[in-house]
Amino acid sequence: MKEQLRKMPKRYPMNGTFELTVRCDLNCKMCLFRHDDSENETIREKEMTAAQWISMAKQAAGAGTVNLLVTGGEPMIRRDFCEIWEGIYQQGFFLTLYTNATMVTSEIMKILRKYPPHKIGVSVYGASREIYQKVCRSGAALEKALEGIHELLTLPSVMEFRTTIIKDNYQEVDAIQKMIQEEFGEQYVLTHTRTVMQSVRGACADVNKCRLDPSENIKLYFRREFQEMEKIIGPDFRPEQAKFSIQKKDEKILEKQRLTLFYCNAGMTDYTITYDGKLQGCQILEAFYTEPLKEGFQNAWETFPYVVKLPGEPENCRKCRRKTFCSTCFGMRYAETGQLDGIPEYACEDARELARMSLEYDKGGKGNEKIYCT
């Protein structure tokens, strides 16, 4: 029997993202958020002030936020980064800082030593000046990043290394991993973004020119997963002998009702405050937002579900036999097509390639199945 939801149940904004800016000192070809430099002054005028960020942090803490990601653009590009960081820190969050590590000054290190993040995610895009020039339009950024990372490693924070792979640095993935381990320690691994999306919210990157073809993207994904498996299994591991099978989710998990707005945690436990003061479900999906600067954080959070109006799933997607392999979401649909019910061809190709690479595929598989490697 169909149940009708009569009232939105209480939601807690457990996990927040504070996007201090979309400006960045780098100019990466595939950046989701960076605008053209000509817009920097306009963006700066729209950016929330330090006082506004600190007030937002107080309100978010009062509303129940525990985990907070501070990100950008490049957050350290803000001249008032130290003031913002100290103010946010005082509220008591489990704090993660995302940075490209190229703007780590002694002043910033002083504040981070006093108020260290619990976790730092550093983005690294190449192992050579040449590749940094191609990807980020700044060859000199590599040395700055390495220097910055060495400084950040003196903090007690957990460090993670992240990258995004496009055509220009595709050949250098292993070299980046090797550089990180040789420079900073064997214990560090490099995670890479699974799928490069079209840029959003007025950003200027033209990813069609630089992102990997879906077949290359899937090969990269498999190769890196196999490398991790080899570390666990040892030299006896033979990727050609790997078997892939679809495993059904536990029935108990399937029976449990889960209320979502977008089939994820966006807007239910997760939110983003954009640089210009909007509360969105995530950094990517700009179509729905409330305005915490005008109505206060608590009210903006509580009323967010009521501004969300979603179309039905496209019929092609509903009937798609590769649904199990599809990584698309409303954010991706909107980014790729400009429509909430658009069909993102890149994601379709990606799913097609993933299905093709899998050796066993249960024809007509349903969306509640998860693929494991056995």
Partner: protein
């Protein structure tokens, strides 16, 4: 004894978590979930206090069996001690 590390106590809905901050992150980088009794003990541990004084404070605040309170307080203190928090 008293709390010797820096933590922030946060109330999230009906639950409470302790979040390490500052230098404490070097020794403990996670979240500690505690219940209402734990919050009571935590607040009393901000100043120097003995275990017996803690037990007495609990008994004055709550209607509870002394033996059970001693067991609960001892267990709580052991967990904190194991993490180097007291």
């Amino acid at each position: 004894m008293k709390i010797k590390k820096e933590f922030v106590l946060r109330k999230i809905g009906d639950d409470y978590v302790l979040i390490p901050i500052g230098e404490t992150i070097a020794h403990f980088n996670g979240l500690i979930s505690i219940n209402e009794m734990g919050v009571f003990l935590w607040e009393h541990l901000q100043e120097e206090i003995t275990k017996e004084e803690l037990v007495q404070d609990v008994l004055e605040e709550y209607e509870a069996d002394r033996e059970q309170v001693e067991i609960d307080v001892t267990g709580f203190l052991e967990k904190l001690s194991k993490q180097g928090i007291i």
